[in-house]
Symmetry: C2
């Protein structure tokens, strides 16, 4: 239908995320599911049932190394656990296959170096499927930043604030991975939904880089209360602080503040703020202020002194003029919300596999973003003392221009 | 008119803040301006002109020590510069006179110890006139917190984000104090508008205290651009980073994140966030979420998974039921906005003088709040490393109950 060459993929790990990925993949005529893999037969059966009648039956594996040896498979999706996907991605690249991993943070700096080395040795790419990089507002602001409307960038905020009390109580009973991490660790465990788009906007690994991390945890109360309320179990203690505040210092003098909060009841936000010398986007206010465009009223108070009052413009008021070309190109064919982001993300990965080019989110991005979780834990353990960020590019960030490598180069999407 | 005994005050420092203070003081029939003092004759003349025909002519002094020796003066207002008001407040207390200082940060920890010692030696109180402690929303949330609606408090944010580009360009030309501090220092120079109300809500110095400070500065660009634009001078460099992010760790396990930003164009905010195990106020969203009161909708997405969507209630929807008694008591007689806050603040100070009681914002509050500026500078200088907060109460915070000493004790205002 699209006239593009079909890309043969394998999927390793057939949990619930695979089902939502399939929702998007099955809409794409240029992708063939050549092989699937899981340790558990019931998961394999469930996915085969979903695929039945829609596509040719894929090869089935229980051992992911055997799937990686399947010559038909060109690229693998790896929606497995936080503790296994980096190792599988490394092994995939070593077999010459592009790897798509899900979001999450690393457990050690070492597993990220292994990922980087595998990609450098084989010249095969690893992409995190961070769909929030393809959010409409994130792309809008990136486009406006590239056009100079925000001036020189100075400061950013982002985060993941999403109350998961009920979910965590269920996961406590079923022993699911995410809950175990929250029980044992203390740091920003889930930050790429916010940090990914911000890192792209700040050109991280392309003329800029993360320098240091300082991270701060509050006491932990929320999940204990949720487990008591929803699972009727008293006295369960989580190590993860309710709110984790992390500050990243960047080479070009910008700071990024990240807030992680999933255990206290509140409305959802990714807490985005992008601020430069000429403008600011504040997700929580639903507004953008651009000097010279947004309202600025001069007021005189009763005592006679003059002050300026600056007012937000609604984010939506910029859509028509500044929607990103990627969003404009795809908006007619994608559904709204998360699945829309998913399709843009997966298409970007598949296009890179087909063309044997670097993925727009590359192995250095994966390493830099995921390392912040590990570094956050370290800094929390040190009472908030800053810890240094490794340079996973070994100096290549100094010479890499944003324009030539980023998906968001405006030239590329014309 | 009020039937209360008149309190005789002196005013030291007759700049523009004195004019706005007089706007409130002249409405109060139980306050007599007994003496005024300034180094400059033109300022004295200006204030005398404002007072002329309204009140009896006060005693006039050029040397503040002479005003402090005036036996008629019971208490002094000290709206002088950041570098002089702490010394004058110390000397006032040593002469047995209550001292009211303006907002601002300290330059050293030592000048705060001197302030504390003067108060402890004479049993005379020093109050910072932090009018934002008397803001309607701040008092509303304090009242709701005291009634348990927020659950156990976990995390707070506050700040001062107010674009002062034009003002700073003018001050650069006239050599005004605030500009000089921004030229030379790098830390959170102006934080009590946000931190004062938060400290009251968290019962700082009354069963809780500030433990450590970690502070982070971005590069400095905004004021340099403002001076170029508004004063036509190129290449003026300010040391103050455009955005300062400061995290305070508290003894009871809460963290406070403070944002200072006065050099980049944007709408005004004090950036308040008060979050507990059962609810959150977020000023920038204009909303409060309280579990069990605010909307929570269960949604099923196309793949069948269930998620909860929590929605903000407008702050205004809580006014009728939860407005603080202080606000209810005063709202009919005060004007709206800042001057309304001013009257509440000044009346609290005057009442304490009349009754010879501790001021609701006392010398320990002044020292703790103002020390954060100094500690922020230290931490910025150390690349964000946490620095410890002195305990200005020397352990008294452990034994001081919030109920017995705070202005906001609900019993007191009935």
């Amino acid at each position: 239908m699209s006239g593009k060459q079909v890309v043969n993929i394998g999927i390793i790990g057939l949990g619930s995320r695979t089902e939502t990925l399939l929702f998007s993949i099955l809409q794409m005529s240029d992708v063939k599911i050549a092989a699937i893999c899981d340790l558990k037969q019931e998961r394999i059966d469930k996915i085969l049932e979903i695929l039945s009648g829609k596509v040719d039956t894929p090869g089935v594996y229980r051992n992911y190394r055997e799937l990686l040896d399947d010559p038909e498979v060109e690229a693998v999706f790896i929606p497995t656990s936080w503790n296994s996907h980096l190792q599988i991605a490394r092994d995939s690249m070593k077999k010459g296959k592009y790897a798509a991993i899900e979001v999450g943070g690393a457990s050690s700096i070492e597993e990220l170096w292994q990922l980087v080395h595998a990609s450098e040795e084989t010249r095969v790419s690893c992409m995190m499927l961070e769909n929030c990089c393809y959010g409409r507002d994130e792309l809008l602001v990136l486009n406006m930043v590239r056009q100079g409307l925000f001036g020189e960038l100075i400061y950013c905020e982002c985060g993941y604030e999403h109350y998961l009390g009920k979910e965590m109580a269920e996961e406590y009973l079923s022993g699911l991975e995410r809950c175990r991490h929250n029980l044992r660790r203390n740091g920003d465990l889930y930050l790429t939904h916010g940090l990914g788009p911000v890192a792209k906007i700040l050109n991280i690994n392309r003329g800029n880089r993360f320098l240091s991390v300082s991270s701060h945890a509050t006491k932990a109360r929320g999940f204990s209360l949720a487990v008591k309320k929803h699972a009727n179990m008293e006295g369960v203690r989580f190590n993860e602080g309710d709110i984790i505040t992390t500050i990243i210092r960047c080479a070009n003098g910008e700071n990024i503040t990240i807030t992680h909060g999933v255990s206290l009841p509140r409305p959802y936000t990714r807490n985005c703020r992008i601020q430069g010398t000429n403008g600011i986007w504040l997700e929580n206010a639903g507004g953008i202020y651009i000097e010279g465009i947004s309202p600025c009223v001069e007021k005189r108070d009763p005592s006679g002194s003059i002050s300026e009052t600056h007012e937000w413009s609604p984010v939506e008021s910029f859509y028509e003029k500044y929607d990103h070309p990627i969003w404009k190109k795809y908006k007619d064919k994608v559904a709204s919300g998360r699945r829309g982001y998913d399709i843009l993300t997966i298409e970007a990965f598949i296009d890179s596999v087909r063309n044997r080019t670097e993925t727009p989110i590359n192995v250095y991005d994966c390493a830099a973003w995921m390392s912040i979780t590990t570094l956050s834990e370290q800094s929390v353990a040190l009472g908030g003392a800053p810890v240094p960020c490794p340079d996973f590019t070994n100096g290549k960030w100094i010479y890499t221009a944003a324009k030539n490598t980023s998906f968001w180069s405006l030239d590329e999407v014309k």
